[in-house]
Amino acid sequence: MTTTRWRQRVSSLMAILTAAAAGSVILPLVLIFGFLLWQGAAAINVDFFTHLPKPVGEVGGGMANAIIGTLILLGLASLLGLPIGILGGVYLAESRDRRLPWIVRFLADVLNGVPSIVIGIFAYTLVVLPMRRFSAVAGGVALAVIMLPIVVRTTEEMVRLVPASLREAGLALGVPEWKVVLRVVLPTARAGIVTGAMVAVARVAGETAPLLFTAFGNRFWHQGLDQPIAALPLQIFAYAIAPYDDWHRQAWAGALVLIVLVLAVSLMARLVTRGRVGAVR
């Protein structure tokens, strides 16, 4: 009897502890979000989404160019990073070779740990110097490089999770291996791969350092992929360190928009992967 009581007590204590731990995981996000709402919501209005920044000293204006710029940069980065990352991941998971995949995997993990500003310098050397100007492309390349290891590794993991029995079922039907990978293995891993891709996009959406000397920022509308381009994180950075109250408010608003964007991407990842046949097994 006593032991049962004792066990029940320990059990509820543990339940509370784990619930508290789970709560503290989401607490920072809730706090950040609340704080941003409190500080930034006031500066959010139609102008913020439709107007260019006003010249120094004038009140008002918006960050429309930065919002669009960030979307363009994310698009470019995805265009470059996702196909290479996904194909690379499939290679790592499927290759029968031992050495090269091991090296690639190791280097991908190292790349994942490289500070993003260093990746910015890399894109600067690779793209900005030859082109002789800052550009959207350079920013896209920098972000794509940051995305690559995340996408490669999650894709590999997801492809590996596909049971060998499915692969064998496909092969035993007299289907060539490449078709089995394309039509059986990849669709089965699809949910996980999409999630990985979205995580990578969300991860780079807020990157500032690698854009400093690649995309560079721009106070005007998008002028072509070979031109410097505005980006939300850059704009937030510039406004936050400026001495004007109105800009500070706009910086908060920009941060709020950025975080909502990231949330939206994460939510999308959930939605695309839900309710599909066999999405979660």
């Binding site: 499915l166 064998e168 007299g174 066999g278």
Partner: protein
Amino acid sequence: MADGITVTKLNAWFGPSHVLHDIDLAVAPRAVTAIIGPSGCGKSTFIRCLNRMHEVVPGARVVGTVLQEGQDIYSPGVDPVEVRRRIGMVFQKPNPFPTMTVFDNVAAGLRLGGVRDRGVLNERVERALHAAALWEEVKDRLGKPGAGLSGGQQQRLCIARALAVEPEVLLMDEPCSALDPIATARIEELILELKRDLTIVIVTHNMQQAARVADATGFFLLGELVEFGPTSQLFTKPVDKRTEDYITGRFG
């Protein structure tokens, strides 16, 4: 037409371990051949050698000849993909494609083999589901996920999937081991039904099952074929002492 499978001096390895030793065996056409033997004796390995699935495992190797339709499936010019199309396989655990519906599962082999014609697909899928004795149960849920069926239904779905590409031989690796007696009985009925058109090789742990469905039975032990003959003879008058010990349950 079908003239069975003739296996001569078949040896198989997983990396350094030699798991099949000089197997000689002739599978009769349009008949059921059962493979029995204790766990780990090489039954799965053996039937996977019959449609070149063994080599799918990294480091696995095969030496020997397997004549099917007068052709050695291991001779250099032979495409394993082509072999597997003619010699289908059903696995121990039902493995329907989780991203596909019931219909798509059965149509998978045809579609991936390039058949696009909707009419042809419909007809072949229906025929395969009938042949697998599953049509009545799934005809109203062809668009539902294949993984949503019961275990026994999933196994029959996998049989239908294998039948849809119209193989000449069907290899079954313990197809009933995950099923209850009723589902098992259905599959056994099905096997007897199918042998009118197909050559069937079935691995089973269940000696009653072998006795019920098989025309010929082979007993494997430690990677060797100890005895092979008509099922009734193997079970009633085994020639080898080891076979007798095994079927009388004296070792396992």
